[in-house]
Amino acid sequence: MGTLLQFERVSAVYGGSVSALTEISFRVEEGAFVALLGANGAGKSTTLKAASNLLPAERGRVTGGDILFAGDDVTRIDPARHIRAGLVPVLEGRRLFRALSIEENLVTGAIGRGFGHRRIAEGLDRVYDLFPRLKQRRRSVAGLTSGGEQQMAAIGRGLMAEPRLFVLDEPSMGLAPLVVAEIFDALSRLNREEGVTLLVAEQNSSVALRHADWAVVLETGRSSLSGRAADLIARADVQDSYFGGAVV
């Protein structure tokens, strides 16, 4: 198993001047479950968007450093090609297609990877297996489902593209603790049973550290600390200073 994703001194700005990341470096090993932690505004979302080359759509860009996926420099590759290579993002705030049904949302994930009818059907089975609630809600308009169902659908939409590296931005945001636990359990299962490599940004550090095996901590756009999740959990002092006390 090698390194699947590697950030080497990556810097990024918004609007040509607002600096969001300064020379951050970290690695995600194949098969790992990595948590990317940090307080609000630390640069977690920017890091994940840089990985999928989604910054240009928000008037941002990578100004220095290298991002390697499976050994290839992907810094300037079009997002659709990332998906086809297996690097699949789930955006902050879920960003479902609200007017589409849950199942239609799922199908778009497979279309994005260029899958045909057979792979679509297989993917739906796999997602409904992981989140049985989605099966009941498959015909519901996505914008009218609960926050938890929307997050599950957003994760399901990503799974439809059969990710090799699955990149999730704050899946716990705005959800009740029980739902958060359900979602992280599902992620753990994907990681353990199907070998999907995970990179999950979270402000909710305690839940993330309990499920992840490695953690990278960002502080105002710099990578300040990384280590085994089990070791970081023990350091409550670290949690307070780095995670803005956001321990649930």
Partner: protein
């Protein structure tokens, strides 16, 4: 007896209005398609209608058979839509809606200029071989041409609806229309989808161009039918195909009825401004139109 005749007359006016409303809806749908995917009010839609009609009629005048002319014009409109998307809109992605609107405004002059250069400026008569004799439905006379136009428009709307509902490209289109950033992140190919939609808009322009052209003659004033589509869009909502249809019918029927029943009191000519008055009221009361997007979301 007199009451009955008056009633029949009223129905006849309303039906005539509804049928001309179909024609408004036809132009409005072209706008909606592009607005939903590119977020731009494509002012050049009218010029595309004109261009389609002129190309078709010029081919017919040169002895090209009807169906061949249809196919050829469709190919030309497809290429035109594709070229516009590539050369004008794609370089302007992420620019403000005003910039995009100005670009399409400029584009409409370029297309009209090109049409004039290629096909000349004279008025052409376009005969689709559909009779204009009215048919008698139990005392109500309805124009055969208007009926045929409505049937063609309905078939086109049905085809578009099926396409958007049941094909992968159609689903992708609805996803892009819903959330462009999410669609990018999911890996949907925006450029391909936008090109497809411009192609569809070119097709709609062709159908509208033929029907309007057969009615009014193919001439440069045809590109002004866009002005009639604007109040329809305001009433129906810029991003709703259903809205374009319903609003087209409503405006068509109400302006005819207003002309007949209110006209005598204000000295006539209501038909030319009634739609705009309706649009103004809608803008004040309900800016997103009858069917326009109101965010549906529950937290």
């Amino acid at each position: 007896m007199m009451d009955w005749l008056n009633f029949l007359f009223g129905v006849e006016v309303a039906v005539g209005g509804l049928l001309s409303g179909v024609m408004y809806a036809l132009v409005a749908i072209g706008f909606v398609l592009i607005y939903k995917t590119s977020g731009v009010l494509n002012f050049a839609q009218g010029a595309m209608v004109l261009f389609a009609a002129l190309t078709f009629v010029s081919l017919i005048e040169r002895g090209v058979p009807f169906w061949l002319a249809i196919v050829f014009t469709l190919a030309v409109m497809t290429m035109l839509g594709f070229a516009i998307e590539r050369s004008v809109l794609r370089p302007l992605t992420n620019r403000s809606p005003m910039v995009l609107f100005m670009a399409t405004l400029g584009l409409s002059y370029v297309i009209e200029g090109a049409a004039q250069l290629i096909w000349g400026t004279q008025v052409h008569r376009l005969d689709l071989g559909i009779s204009n004799e009215p048919i008698d439905f139990g005392g109500i006379y309805v124009s055969q041409f208007d009926l045929a136009a409505a049937a063609i428009a309905a078939a086109m709307v049905a085809a578009l609806t099926l396409f958007f509902r049941f094909t992968r490209t159609g689903l992708s289109f609805r996803a892009v229309a819903d959330d462009t950033f999410a669609a990018t992140a999911v890996g949907l190919r925006l450029n391909l989808i936008r090109s497809t939609v411009w192609t569809a808009a070119g097709f709609v322009a062709l159908v509208a161009g033929l029907l309007w052209g057969a009615r009014l003659g193919v001439q440069f004033s045809l590109s002004v039918v866009v002005l009639k589509a604007l109040p329809v869009l305001v009433l129906g909502g810029f991003d709703s195909i259903l809205g374009a249809i319903v609003a087209g019918l409503m405006i068509g029927a109400s302006e005819k009825l207003a002309e007949v029943y209110l006209g005598p009191y204000v000295g006539g000519g209501i038909e030319s401004w009634f739609a705009y008055a309706v649009a103004l009221v809608v803008l004040l009361v309900r800016p997103s139109g009858l069917f326009g997007t109101k965010l549906v979301e529950r937290y």
